[in-house]
Symmetry: C2
Subunit: 438 residues, 2 copies
C-alpha cells in the first residue's frame, strides 16, 4: 500500500491527539483511505513535548520550514493557531504544492479569501473541517451531503465554553463570574477566556459558515458580535418564566427577498421546547435549513483534543483518497463572484425581549407603550414580577413582535431618556428560526 | 462545461422531486460539481405522469432497459423500490459500467453484499445516501466525516411514520388506531402501513448502518425486530410518570469485550431529558458514537420527496465530481472480511420496564420479586398506580437494573405462570446509550 506523507505542525492539545489517534487507528485509516497515512515530520516549540509522547527524535523539529520544504511531504497539518505564523505556514505549504489541513478559524475568518484564492491558483486543497463545531462533520455536510440545497439559514451553538457557562447559569442560577470560574476549573474555558466569551470565536466560525454557504468571506468586523459577559442571571430567570432559554448563537440567514445575508452572534432567546434549547453543557449544535431538504440539526462535541482530531483525520483521509486534480469543486467560492452580501444589523427583523428597570408609579407602562406604538412595534407580552425592595426600581419585561432592529433600538434609546427609568434597557433578540424560501 | 448524463428510473414521489429540483437547481449543481448534471432519459410505468410534469416526450420510456443500455448514460438512479426488478436494474447497470444511485433500503438490506461485491468487481460506485434517514447526510458522515472512528454505537429514530404515531399517542393520549388514522390522513403513513409500523423498514436501515460501520451485512431475519402495533397508550403514560418517553429505535451497538454487534429494532424507553426524546413528529434523528469523536446526533426529515431528493442529488454531485477510479475506498466492506458478527438478542444486556396486570392481593409483589431475585435481576423502581376498577386487576410497573435479556425473558415466562397474573407481562427495553470503548 502506498504511503501518504504528512507533516504535523503544532503538538498542543489537538496536535498530540492527532498523533495519538493516527497511531492507534493506523490500520483502520489505511483500509478506509487506501493509503498508509504516515506522519513523517512533527514541528513543535519544545522538543521535550515530543519526547514525552514517545515520538521518534529524528522526526521532530522546532522549525516548521523543515516540513514545508520536505519534498516527500504531501500534506501539511497546521495546528498552532494564531494568525501571523500560521498564515505564513499555510501559504508557504500551498506554494510548495502541498495540500493543507487546518483547524484555525481565526486565520480563516481573517484571511480565508486570500488562502482560498491561493489554493485555487496552486490547484491544491485546503481542508478545515475541524475549524467549526469540532468533531461534527458540519462543513462536509454543507459542501457535500447538502450540496444540492440553497441555504436559507445556518444557526447554532458553536462555542462550547459559552454554552457551558449559560447552561450553568440557567440550571444552577449562578452568576456569570461563578459559572466562568467553574468552567475554568473543569477545563471548559481557557485561562484567557476573552476570545470565547466575547463571541469573537463564534464570529470566526460564522464567517467560515458564510463563506461555504454563500460564497463570500464577510469581514470579521462587519459581523455583529455580542458576548455573554454581561448576561444577568435575572434575565435568564425571567425568560425561563416566559418559556424561553438563553443561548449564544451564531446566525447566518438569507433575507427572503434579496441577496443579503444576516450574519450575527449574540445571546438569543429560544422557545424552551426547541431542540437547540436542550443542547446543554459544552456541546455544539447547528441547524442547517436547506431549500430542498428543510431543517437539519447536527450535534456533538465542538472542542477538545479528540473530537477536533477526529475532524483533522477525516480531512487527511479525504486528501489520501482523492488526487488533488479531481478536486477543484470544493473551493469554487474563490473562483466565482458571490451574488450575496452582508446585511447590516440595523436592517434585520427580529422579536425582542426587553427588561426595563422603572420607578413604580402610574403611567410608566403607558409611556413605554406609546414609544413602541409610534414605531409600530407590537407588544406580545408584559410581565412585572413582584419584588421585595421597591426602592431599587421594579423590573418590567416586555416581549415585542417582529420589529426592525433599527426601529427597536431607536425606541430603546427613547425609553432610556424617560425620567422614571433606572439604568439602560436590557435587550435580547428572540429567534424562531423562520427562514423562508424565495 | 462537460455534461454528466443520468438515467432516472422511477418517477414516483421521490423521482419526480429529483427531476424538479435538478431543473430548478441546475446552475448551482453545475457550479458545485464542475459538470452539467443532465437527466438524459426517464423510465416510468405510465407516460402520462411524465407528460404531467412537463418532461419532454422523447426522453420518456416505459422500458428501463433503454436506460441501462444507453452508452451515453454514466449513472443510473433507481427509485422504483421493491426488490426483484430493482435488483435486476442495478446489477445490469453496474455490469454495463454505470455508477448507480438508489434509495432502496429493502433491496440493500436483502442483497447489499452481492451488489457491493458486483460494484467492486466492476470498479463502479453504488451510492445510497437516501436509503437511511432521508435528507440527513448520515451515511456520508459515517463513511467520510467520522471515518477515523471505530463506531461504538449507532442508534436512533429512522422511521418517521412510527415516530409520528408514537408522538401523537404521547401528546394526545390517543390510541394506536387513532394515531395511525391521523398519520394516514396527513400523508405520514402509507395506505399499507405494515412495512413501517412492524419495524421492518427500520430493520432494513439498521442493516445498512451495520454494513457501513461494521463491514458486514446482517441477515434481515437475524435482526431482532418489534414494531409499534401493540403499543398501549397506558404504558406510554406510566413510563411518562416515571420520566421516560417511548420511541421506536434502531440500535446497532458493539459489545465492549468482543467483536459482536447488537442489531435490534424495538420500541424503547428513553429518559425524558435525552435529546432523542425531544425528536417529535415525522422527524428522524440518529446518534453516532465514535471512539475518538464521542457522541454526535444528526437530525432532520427522514422521508418525503424533497428531503430524499436532496440526498439523491448529493450522490449525483459526488459521482460527477470524482472519477470512478479514484473511488474504491467507500466500498471496502465488500473486499475485506469483517471481524464482526451479530450478537443474538438473548445475549444483550439492558434495563427493562415491565407491566404486569395482577390480582390485588397480599404477597403478589413478593412472588414477583423472588422470581427476579433468583435470576439476580435487581429492581430499580416499582409503581402500582391507583385504579378505579379492581376487578380488571391492577397494573404493577417494575423497572429493573441491567439484566441479560435471556435471564429477563425467562423471569417473565415464570411470572406468566403465576396464578394471580392476568395476561402476559408487557415489556419495554430502556436505553441509556452507554456504549463503551474497549
Amino acid at each position: 500500500m502506498k504511503a501518504f506523507n504528512v507533516g504535523l505542525i503544532g503538538l498542543g492539545n489537538v496536535g498530540s491527539r492527532v498523533w495519538h489517534n493516527l497511531l492507534t487507528h493506523k490500520k483502520l485509516l489505511a483500509e478506509k483511505s487506501g493509503k498508509i497515512i504516515e506522519i513523517k515530520r512533527v514541528a513543535l516549540r519544545s522538543l521535550q513535548k515530543g519526547y514525552n509522547l514517545g515520538i521518534p527524535k529524528e522526526i521532530l523539529t522546532t522549525d516548521w520550514q523543515d516540513i514545508v520544504n520536505d519534498p516527500e511531504i504531501e500534506a501539511v497539518v497546521e495546528l498552532i493557531g494564531g494568525i501571523d505564523i500560521s498564515y505564513e505556514i499555510i501559504t508557504s505549504a500551498l506554494k510548495k504544492g502541498k495540500d493543507v489541513v487546518t483547524a484555525n478559524k481565526a486565520l480563516l475568518a481573517n484571511h480565508g479569501q486570500q488562502i482560498a484564492n491561493l489554493a485555487f491558483e496552486q490547484k491544491r486543497r485546503i481542508l478545515f473541517e475541524a475549524s467549526v463545531a469540532g468533531g461534527i462533520p458540519l462543513l462536509q455536510a454543507i459542501q457535500d451531503g447538502l450540496v444540492a440545497n440553497r441555504f436559507l439559514m445556518i444557526a447554532g451553538i458553536v462555542n462550547g465554553t459559552c454554552n457551558y457557562i449559560l447552561t450553568e447559569m440557567t440550571s444552577q442560577k449562578s452568576s456569570y463570574a461563578e459559572a466562568l470560574k467553574k468552567a475554568k476549573e473543569l477545563g471548559y474555558a481557557e485561562a484567557n477566556e476573552k476570545l470565547d466569551v466575547s463571541g469573537e470565536d463564534s464570529a470566526h466560525k460564522a464567517a467560515i459558515l458564510c463563506a461555504l454557504s454563500y460564497r463570500f468571506w464577510p469581514k470579521v468586523e462587519e459581523i455583529y458580535t455580542a458576548g455573554i459577559e454581561s448576561v444577568d442571571p435575572m434575565d435568564i430567570q425571567y425568560a425561563a418564566d416566559l418559556g424561553y432559554v438563553l443561548k449564544l448563537l451564531a446566525i447566518i440567514k438569507k433575507h427572503p427577498h434579496s441577496k443579503k445575508v444576516e450574519i450575527r452572534v449574540h445571546p438569543t432567546l429560544l422557545k424552551k421546547d426547541h431542540i437547540l434549547s436542550s443542547v446543554s453543557g459544552a456541546f455544539n449544535a447547528v441547524i442547517v435549513k436547506g431549500d430542498i431538504v428543510g431543517d437539519q440539526l447536527f450535534y456533538g462535541r465542538g472542542a477538545g483534543g479528540d473530537p477536533t482530531a477526529s475532524a483533522v483525520l477525516s480531512d487527511l483521509v479525504e486528501l489520501a483518497r482523492y488526487p488533488s486534480d479531481a478536486y477543484h469543486a470544493r473551493i469554487f467560492f474563490s473562483s466565482t463572484e458571490s451574488e450575496y452580501k452582508i446585511m447590516p444589523i440595523s436592517e434585520i427583523i427580529s422579536r425582542y425581549y426587553v427588561r426595563l428597570n422603572v420607578v413604580d408609579k402610574p403611567g410608566v407602562l403607558a409611556s413605554i407603550a406609546q414609544i413602541l406604538g409610534r414605531k409600530n412595534i407590537g407588544i406580545s407580552s408584559v410581565v412585572q414580577p413582584e419584588v421585595s425592595n421597591l426602592s431599587q426600581g421594579v423590573p418590567l419585561i416586555i416581549m415585542v413582535h417582529d420589529a426592525k432592529e433599527k426601529d427597536f433600538t431607536e425606541a430603546c434609546a427613547e425609553m432610556s431618556k424617560l425620567p422614571f427609568l433606572k439604568g439602560n434597557p436590557v435587550i435580547y433578540r428572540v429567534e424562531d428560526f423562520h427562514a423562508q424560501s424565495e
